[in-house]
């Protein structure tokens, strides 16, 4: 090695050492939590209440690069897999696994754990889980095979480049084969940077540093403590008072963010899309909504900007099924959106079209169509429903609000016992495969409206197989347009939420197109 090379190497090492020394070891990160997580098992839940506190207990095969603001296919890094390779026919994805990794109970991690996890979550094996909300994500996984303890292969029915995206998400941790599902709900065991210590119902969740973590020098924190504070005002006041370092993600409304910043100017807050959308559920099996014209009228009545202005002072995004750009990767461009019926700037023109259709169907200002708008009895749902009822009046529909208890809401949806419902729902990953197969596939459990379009379903599969991401985006836009035109589940707004933390929290990096995937906390440290 020449002198110059050695000098360069020395400089590089010094630089690296300098960076490493900048982080401080120790301290417990205190985080507010809004409610009691239904369980600690990430695979059994679809809520941030479980995902955020427990993601740090686990590892995935691969993870999103936290240095990238967007969670995307070309920014995925190794985690428990050290490398991966796609077969020539693009139908087999083979992972080489990290050697020497141990579960928190001391047992070795092997390829059998990976096989076991995806055999269960894809529904091939009964793993005694109570629920399996992400089963549709793995529709294309035909079989998982192992080749020794450090190699595992996912055999796919069709090529699916975005399978990696789903594997990198917070809802795709690797579970240990030897721990029963019931224990994973109450005392999860993972390979992650933090070990589970305690989950007191309605009180707190405690994690402690995993000293045997396979990544040298990580994590920096000694532990993480979540305090469950049901009252949002109390939580915000406690944050301002310095009792906590960080809020649950998305929990601070855009208005509250302004309030927090006014009280504590140095507080760092980020308002970002939560990949949660408000949409209309129209029961297409129940008259008069079996008539596509009436469904079209509903879509035409909506003034999406008014929803955004009233609910968030214009912060919420407007878009289709896919998250709108610039945060979202797959949402329509503004120019394209303007061409989609009901999304044009001239709302009055759309409503006039709606009124014309209603007049042809025999309705008018003197004969309004009565309609019950069902929704969950939760502020976010109710507020949106009230605005919707107001908009429906403009197309001769007289709405009546029917607030339902959460326990009744999903049961009613499952039995299709509603006419029109105002719904709010999140999507774990900003990817068309997740959105289309979870919510719009014929027969999918989350396809509440039972929308089923065989031609469109072919296009779902077609876009899923596409390697060229630009071409795929164009097809996705067309599918999304068709979904909105068909009134499959008219999207009304895409919500945003704020996350706040004190400046002493360092190394926290959030993504702008999903709230579910950056909670490993292994690079976070406290500068107290």
């Amino acid at each position: 090695m020449g002198f110059v090379a050695r000098l360069l190497m020395a400089c590089l090492l010094t630089l690296c050492a300098g960076t490493a020394h900048a982080q401080k070891q120790g301290g417990v990160l205190r985080v507010t939590h809004r409610d009691n997580p239904p369980s600690a098992s990430i695979h059994e839940e679809a809520t941030i209440s479980t995902d955020m506190p427990f993601m740090a207990v686990f590892n995935n095969l691969v993870v999103f690069d936290s240095d990238s603001k967007q969670n995307r296919l070309d920014r995925i890094l190794p985690d428990l897999a050290t490398s991966w390779k796609l077969s020539d026919d693009d139908k087999t994805l083979t992972f080489q696994l990290r050697d020497g990794v141990k579960w928190h109970d001391g047992k070795p991690f092997t390829s059998a754990d990976v096989k076991c996890t995806w055999d269960v979550v894809s529904g091939k094996v009964d793993g005694k889980m109570r629920k399996n909300p992400h089963k549709t994500w793995w529709f294309n996984v035909k079989e998982i095979t192992v080749n020794g303890p450090l190699e595992v292969a996912f055999h796919l029915t069709d090529p699916q480049p975005s399978l990696l995206v789903m594997l990198a998400g917070g809802f795709a941790p690797v579970y240990p084969c030897h721990v029963p599902a019931a224990q994973m709900r109450t005392h999860p065991i993972g390979t992650g940077p933090f070990k589970f210590v305690e989950f007191k119902q309605n009180e707190s969740i405690r994690l402690e540093r995993n000293p045997q973590y396979w990544k040298p020098g990580r994590p920096y924190l000694d532990g993480i403590e979540y305090s469950i504070i049901a009252n949002r005002s109390t939580a915000i006041l406690a944050l301002v008072a310095g009792k906590f370092d960080l809020t649950l993600t998305g929990e601070v409304t855009p208005e509250l963010v302004k309030d927090v910043k006014a009280q504590v100017p140095q507080m760092e807050c980020l308002v970002q899309p939560s990949n949660t959308q408000g949409n209309l559920l129209v029961n297409r099996e129940r008259p008069p909504f079996d008539n596509p014209l009436i469904r079209r009228v509903l879509s035409l009545s909506i003034d999406r900007k008014a929803f955004s202005d009233i609910l968030s002072r214009g912060v919420y995004n407007i878009g289709g099924a896919m998250l709108a750009p610039p945060e979202g990767l797959w949402g329509w461009s503004p120019e394209f959106m303007a061409t989609v019926p009901g999304y044009g700037a001239d709302v009055e023109k759309s409503r006039e079209e709606g009124r014309r259709i209603m007049r042809e169907l025999g309705y008018g200002p003197d004969k309004m169509m009565p309609l019950k708008v069902s929704t969950r009895n939760i502020a976010d749902y109710r507020d949106a429903s009230v605005i919707l009822i107001d908009h429906l009046k403009t197309v001769y529909i007289q709405g009546e609000l029917e607030p339902l208890d959460s326990s009744v809401w999903y049961a009613r949806l499952a039995r299709k016992d509603y006419a029109v419902g105002m719904n709010v729902q999140g999507t774990g990953i900003d990817d068309p495969d997740v959105q289309f197969f979870e919510n719009y596939l014929c027969g999918s459990e989350r396809n509440y409206t039972s929308y089923c379009n065989a031609d469109l379903e072919k296009l779902y599969h077609q876009q899923s197989m596409m390697k060229d991401q630009d071409a795929r985006r164009k097809l996705v836009w067309e599918i999304d347009r068709k979904l909105q035109e068909d009134g499959a589940r008219p999207v009304v707004y895409q919500s945003q939420g704020g996350t706040c933390w004190w400046p002493q929290v360092k190394g926290l990096k959030l993504a702008v197109n999903s709230i579910y995937n950056h909670w490993r906390f292994e690079d976070v440290w406290l500068d107290r």
Binding site: E45, K131, N132, Q201, A241, K243, F244, D405, Y410, A411
Partner: protein, 315 residues
């Protein structure tokens, strides 16, 4: 006396049986069950998985069987398992009882310490400026919603002291407990204090006009002796009743205070359990609160005897 206590104990058993039937049936009348709620967080209902959960939890059995299983378990000291946490109910409930008991005890102490003396002063100084001020204070206590008062206190603490008196971890010792609970206890005790103050005042006003008080004064006793030894002792009976009722209320009715101050007590836990339709948890918590209420009522009735020797519960 003994037979009275035995009669009351038997009545307690009947009351508790009544409560058990009522809560058991009410919970099953309310729409939705744990399986529906569990799917809430998954955003879907899978009918097959739902049926499996229902069967696993024994919810598909007939109501008499479910009831018998619960009651027989109670007799054996087996309260069952929480549907949500999947831990024994007893392990979930036991740590929360002392928290609520401490908060309720402190609130009651505050209420008595403030309500009784101020009620007496208000009565003795009837229609003076001080009386008017105390009446305004007591009316304020009754009129102000406790969640509003609680939030106001929290905001004031954050603004003026840069700290917030909420529960964020289990206090290590008695003083830490006291420090943490004193503000919420004062917030919740303020309402009880106002109630006790008004009752003490009206009761005292009635007693102060009695002949025996006039007689005591004519005997030349001091104002203090007349007020505290003769009038208050006779005026305190209705106040004891209210204290009993308040004790029972405080054991199960502190939901707002526990929520605002983030105290993991019985009431907050009960409301959450109802939301989740966590039947074993709700049933056993309600039974516990009912037990507290009937026991406190018995103690109050017995306390009458000690305060007023004229009262005797005959055979």
């Amino acid at each position: 006396m003994l037979s009275y206590i035995i009669r009351r104990l038997l009545l307690m058993v009947v009351t508790l049986f009544d409560v058990s039937i009522t809560i058991f049936l009410l919970l099953r009348i309310v729409p939705g069950n744990i399986a529906d709620i569990l799917f809430d967080s998954a955003g879907l209902i899978d009918p097959a998985e739902k049926q499996k959960i229902i069967a696993d939890l024994g919810l598909d059995k007939s109501l008499p069987v479910q009831y018998a299983q619960w009651i027989l378990g109670l007799f054996r000291g087996d309260l069952g398992f929480s549907y949500v946490s999947e831990k024994p109910v007893i392990d979930e409930i036991l740590p929360r009882i002392p928290i609520t008991a401490r908060l309720a005890g402190l609130a009651l102490l505050f209420a008595i310490a403030m309500g009784v003396p101020l009620g007496v002063i208000s009565a003795v100084r009837q229609n003076t400026g001080l009386d008017y001020a105390l009446r305004v204070l007591s009316l304020s206590g009754l009129s102000m919603p406790s969640f509003w008062l609680g939030l106001l206190i929290l905001m004031a603490f954050v603004h003026y002291f840069g700290t917030i008196p909420i529960y964020d971890r289990a206090p290590a010792n008695f003083w830490a407990w006291l420090q943490m609970l004193v503000i919420p206890a004062a917030a919740v005790g303020f309402r009880s204090a106002a109630l006790i103050m008004r009752l003490t005042r009206s009761s005292m006003l009635e007693v102060l006009r009695q002949d025996y008080v006039r007689t005591a004064r004519s005997k030349g006793l001091s104002d203090g002796s007349v007020t505290y030894n003769h009038a208050l002792r006779n005026a305190v009976l209705p106040v004891i009743t209210v204290i009993g009722v308040e004790t029972a209320f405080l054991m199960g009715g502190l939901i707002v205070t526990e929520t605002v101050f983030n105290i993991p007590g019985v009431a907050r836990f009960l409301v959450e359990a109802i939301r989740w339709r966590d039947y074993p948890m709700v049933q056993n918590l309600v039974m516990f609160i009912a037990l507290v209420v009937v026991v406190v009522n018995l103690i109050v009735d017995l306390a009458y005897m000690f305060v007023d020797p004229r009262i005797r519960y005959s055979e």
